[in-house]
Assembly symmetry: C2
Homo-oligomer: 209 residues x 2
Amino acid sequence: MSNASETPAGRRSADTRPGGRTADVRRRVLTATEDALIEHGFAGIELPVIARAADVGKTTIYRRWGSPQALVSDLLDDMAAQSVRATHTGDLDSDLQANADLIVRTLGHRRQGRLFAALVAAATHDAQTKRALAEFYRIRVDEWSTSVADAIDRGEIPATTDTTAVIRYLSAPLYYQFFTTAERLGDGDARRAVRATMAALGAGVFESS
Amino acid sequence: MSNASETPAGRRSADTRPGGRTADVRRRVLTATEDALIEHGFAGIELPVIARAADVGKTTIYRRWGSPQALVSDLLDDMAAQSVRATHTGDLDSDLQANADLIVRTLGHRRQGRLFAALVAAATHDAQTKRALAEFYRIRVDEWSTSVADAIDRGEIPATTDTTAVIRYLSAPLYYQFFTTAERLGDGDARRAVRATMAALGAGVFESS
């Protein structure tokens, strides 16, 4: 896998990661969970089916995970741990652009887009998944907030800037378009999201009161 | 029902609407569909169950709608037809504020929030529902775009402003917070969405190229 998305890099290539057999079982189970979500949504996650697809004993799945909710929570943990690091180019506009481009690539990627849609859908029906998804986004937003913190350190924007709010505002129009329209996300959308966020920053919208 | 949300006003009160028996059947069936979506999500929409809940013959349901997708599409049509009109206060900031407040009330309302979450979730798994949802949002965004068009007519903002983009950018951070965090939407979120949108407008972000 490449850095072309917000999510798993290398889960399938056991060679490149440490951990031995336990880690290998987890990798295969999470890949099967991801595949099931993409193909059928949350309702498609049946433990015996995941066990078969992952070539793992049913007992192992029931003992280590025990429920579809636990599988999805663990998948989200793994996605957060493996997700792409924020850029630190020394220029806030460029860092935000890199983040917006990453979101457009992720949601526009056929499998990744379906995965995110399935995760958001699953979270609407289940409290444990909702918490796990919120934690995933908290980690992602915190990671990219560091490029906003850089800009504070450079004195480009006020120290009172709510860095989390900046990253959320950048992401929001791209997600909104993805979920509520039939229009494909493109580079122009990423650019507009960056411009809108920079304008709001300049107007002091994100300064904590 | 009141104007407290983006969706159905009065579907349950047969007295206040014309249409007779056919309209009454539709009203009962769509209410049952809405209830099923809120309680169980898309998977909960089984035609015999809807027939029973709506006190309508199974034959009628199968003949007039025929599938869960068709029921959800018809519900979205009805929601669009009955949704709250845009305000025209003569001041763009106030009109955008009214729109943002409406979204916060709708998504923050327990049943309405679950309904929208269930609709977005359903759309991620089904192409017909995806089209119907996109059409619902197109109608909603077009309706509220008229308050942006007012501001163009008054000469407050350039005639080249993409009115649809303005309304989408206003809605986006509220939906993003609703779907990706566990934080409840509040008045401060609506206010910030308005300020961010006005700042982006002022910076020319929504001018068509």
